[in-house]
């Protein structure tokens, strides 16, 4: 099938203006006849639901958390990028666009990225007007910092909790619309399936997580704002509830899943301490502004206390390998370098999977007080978790899965190949290519929700008759029956193993074979082993309790069942992409110095996978990527 990305014609800098001009309008009286279902209440979902309601659409918004405010966007620490150039340091829309395309290792769609950079400035205006308390200077102007490999200071932040503050802003806009009656909110409600009628997305089936009731909701369009699939690795920095179910169910109904192998590993997380571990905690990347990363030069020093290792015996490997970026090298590069050091037997801490992030020099230079002002909350968090003080000894850090660039394929209107199904934020594939730059996730979630979808959704709705499909349609009945049957099936297995034990096993396998470095051989092994694990899951999982009441084990079972299927596609995509780019590193494809080797001739496309009913044999559709503005180049940070 050929994919039409619907990129507007004209010069890059004019495409979005032109598209806004050419987009359809729906008159205010008619807007209120349309119902839009928004699944997810993070930055993308809350901002979209609020803005669509402001415009006059009827909105239903769903989240599995007990409050919209708890969606996982809340946990983002570092900041949000915007091309404001308030620092007069040479930033511009073009430079943010360029950095994002290059940072994505030339695997993103240029037109989308340019739009993202353009609307970035509006996001900051919007958030400030809502009362988001960004950091400020004494003169009352907004403060900025340089972040995650950028050479300009374009990151806006609110202490170490920018995500919470932006989400609370979007949530307040959502509350305003709930109060006005424009949005009906469904907390503790999980989407179990997408309902399509004649190929169009016309509704969803949900489970009320308190009463267990399975219900149908009809709408004229469906927006999935359901985040990423990082929890396929079991251990990640994602919240425990993050899952692939909504996007995977949509995939099974025909939506193409693009570039699942682009997964981001964040370099600065607290290392694993034992097999009881339920999640990994990220330490903000901003720590790398003052911390120096090192491991012992000699393997035999790894067991020594760090202050017993003299300077001469330390390998500050990022500074050595990337002199111009040093400790601020981009995420994928820093992560792989940490893995290499540990693979080389020079890792520190339990299991040898850790490297030091050392603040001794910064404390010597600026004083402990200044460092506490900058990172106090992070140092406290580190001490709570590890029992060690980073003021006295270097932190131990190790990379962990953090974000997923892949997601459902969407066109320029953020609509998937299924008409009516729109996908926003981390759940789609469009803006970050093979690697996302720091402080760009928040930007994309809010860009999609506040500024893109409110314009582009009309291009779909204008041709639809509002309310034409109701929950009486046989497709709803069928979907409800399927979901009810799945619940019964889980409860009747009565096997020997818990849901978590399967999730853990799947996660370890995927992390091992499809984590920071991948090989054809390892991926093939994973692809062979996943179906057997899936089979065992369906034979031997133990889901206690009943379907008609609160049952967290049942919720987890549904999510893990979908991860079991998705994991195979993830590995198939990683095996098919015979190149290294961004977060996807194939050990077979590297330069002699260990740098990622892209293959632009053969792989300059987005891989959009089509479900066939056979999980092992999806169909590959390709959207070729053309680079008009940014010239393809080796992504070097030396």
């Amino acid at each position: 099938m050929s994919l039409n990305s619907n990129i507007p014609s004209g010069p890059m800098g004019m495409k979005w203006s032109k598209h806004k001009q050419d987009s359809k309008l729906i008159n205010p009286k008619n807007k209120r006849k349309f119902t839009v279902l928004v699944v997810g209440s993070g930055l993308a979902g809350s901002s979209a639901a609020a803005t669509l309601s402001e415009l006059g659409y009827k909105v239903k918004c769903f989240c599995f958390q007990d409050s919209a405010r708890r969606a996982h966007s809340i946990a983002a620490q570092g900041g949000i990028n915007a091309a404001k150039n308030y620092q007069n340091d040479g930033d511009s829309v073009h430079r943010l666009f360029y950095d994002t395309v290059k940072g994505g290792d030339f695997r993103a769609r240029e037109a989308n990225v340019h739009r993202l950079a353009e609307v970035s400035v509006n996001i900051i205006d919007q958030c400030v007007a809502q009362g988001v308390p960004f950091a400020r200077e004494y003169g009352g102007m907004l403060a900025n910092r340089s972040f995650g490999g950028a050479q300009v200071s374009r990151t806006f932040y609110a202490r170490g909790q920018t995500g919470q503050q932006l989400l609370l802003g979007a949530y307040s806009a959502l509350n305003k619309e709930i109060a006005s009656g424009g949005v009906k909110m469904y907390p503790r409600t999980e989407m179990l399936d997408l309902v399509t009628v004649d190929g169009h997305a016309k509704g969803i089936v949900t489970r009320d997580l308190v009463t267990g009731k399975i219900e149908s909701h009809a709408g004229d369009a469906v927006l999935l704002c359901t985040g990423g699939y990082g929890n396929v690795f079991y251990l990640s920095t994602n919240a425990m509830g993050c899952n692939v179910t909504a996007t995977w169910r949509a995939h099974r109904k025909g939506a193409f899943f693009a570039n699942p192998c682009y997964t981001q590993i964040h370099p600065t997380c607290i290392p694993v301490s034992g097999d009881y571990q339920s999640k990994l905690t990220l330490m903000s990347e901003s720590l790398r502004n003052d911390g120096r990363v090192w491991v012992p030069k000699k393997k035999e020093d790894c067991g020594k206390a760090p202050d017993q290792i003299p300077e001469a015996d330390r390998d500050y490997y990022l500074e050595r390998k990337y002199p111009s970026f040093g400790n601020l090298a981009p995420r994928d590069i820093s992560s792989r370098a940490a893995k290499e050091a540990c693979d080389d037997g020079r890792g520190v801490g339990p299991g040898g999977r850790g490297v030091y992030l050392d603040f001794a020099e910064a404390i010597g230079q600026f004083g402990a007080k200044t460092i506490a002002e900058r990172y106090g909350n992070l140092f406290d968090m580190y001490e709570r978790i590890t029992g060690e003080s980073a003021y006295k000894r270097p932190m131990r850090i190790y990379p962990a899965v953090h974000y997923t660039m892949g997601g459902l394929w969407v066109d320029y209107n953020l609509m998937s190949n299924l008409p009516g199904l729109h996908v926003l934020g981390e759940a789609n594939f469009s803006d970050h290519g093979a690697n996302r730059l720091g402080a760009s996730a928040l930007m994309q979630g809010l860009a999609d929700g506040y500024f893109v979808i409110p314009t582009t959704i009309a291009n779909y709705l204008v041709n639809e008759k509002p309310g034409s499909i109701t929950t009486e349609h046989p497709e709803f009945k069928k979907a409800v029956e399927n979901c009810t049957a799945q619940t019964k099936r889980f409860l009747n297995i009565k096997g020997k193993r818990s849901v978590d034990s399967f999730h853990r096993e799947l996660g370890l396998l995927v992390w091992d074979k499809c984590g920071m470095a991948r090989t054809k051989e390892g991926l093939t092994e994973a692809i062979n082993r996943i179906p057997a694990l899936r089979e065992e899951f369906w034979q031997n999982v133990n889901v206690p309790g009943s379907g008609d009441f609160t049952n967290p084990e049942l919720e987890k079972a549904g999510r893990v069942a979908d991860f079991m299927e998705f994991a195979e596609l993830l590995c198939l995509d990683a095996r098919h992409r015979e190149e290294s780019c961004g977060g996807h590193f194939r050990s077979e494809h590297q330069y002699p110095d260990g740098e990622a080797k892209r293959d632009d001739e053969n792989f300059s496309y987005a891989a959009a996978w089509e479900y066939t009913g056979n999980l092992s044999q999806p169909i590959l559709n390709k959207e070729p990527l053309a680079f008009e503005e940014v010239h393809l180049a080796v992504r070097s940070y030396k």
């Binding site: 402001e54 405010r69 109060a179 425990m240 034992g274 339920s278 590890t386």
Partner: protein, 262 residues
Amino acid sequence: MSQLNLHLKVWRQNGSQPGHFQDIDAPDIPDHASFLEMMDIINERLISKGEDPVAFDHDCREGICGACSMQINGVPHGPAKATTTCQLHMRKFRTGDTIWVEPFRARAFPVLKDLMIDRGAFDRIQQAGGFVTVRTGAPQDANALPIGKEVADAAMDAAECIGCGACVAACKNASAMLFVSAKAGQLNSLPQGQPEKDRRTLGMVRQMDKEGFGNCTNQYECEAACPKEISVRWITKLNRDYAVASLKDALGNSPKEAGGGD
């Protein structure tokens, strides 16, 4: 790393039925585990014995989503200062300890199952005015409105609230004043929040009363229990803002009558 042998007394309850404490032995708990990881281990063991695992709310497990909500040995979020349940680690306990685990208790937070409660009241309070009425796309340039660093920092202090409800659980009257004052205070102290200040204050306080939260008697248990260390000074500010808004309301200058026509 060492292992702890613990004994738990865990609150079990199904919906509106009466609840009870269940005795659960918890041997061999790694002291590096978090409190919720300890609960995971216990649940694995219960499941393998064919028993009903303990239901509890949790999500981010890094102290920011505000989902976790356990009363541990009578203290919301347990013994560590400025720490959510998910960030509490078992090294704070000693082998042989008996630990009481209950849900946050308040009439306005009904128990759903075991340690899970319904905090929908917090959402409804914010829907009653916890926002600035501004349309997407309408604002001016962000730097056109200078806000002094002190004002911005103070607003940020209030904005750190994670909406967990520990303040309510700590209060003998189950008052929500710390939460409401932080939420209203953030916006009431910023220039963006001025036009709707009275309407917001009255709306949120009235909704708080309607939800069945108790009155504040200035004993500051809320501040001591708050994982984000929100200051009770916000309550002072809310009382002041409320007095002004009520007076205007009583004098007939009701915010409800404000607003223009098209």
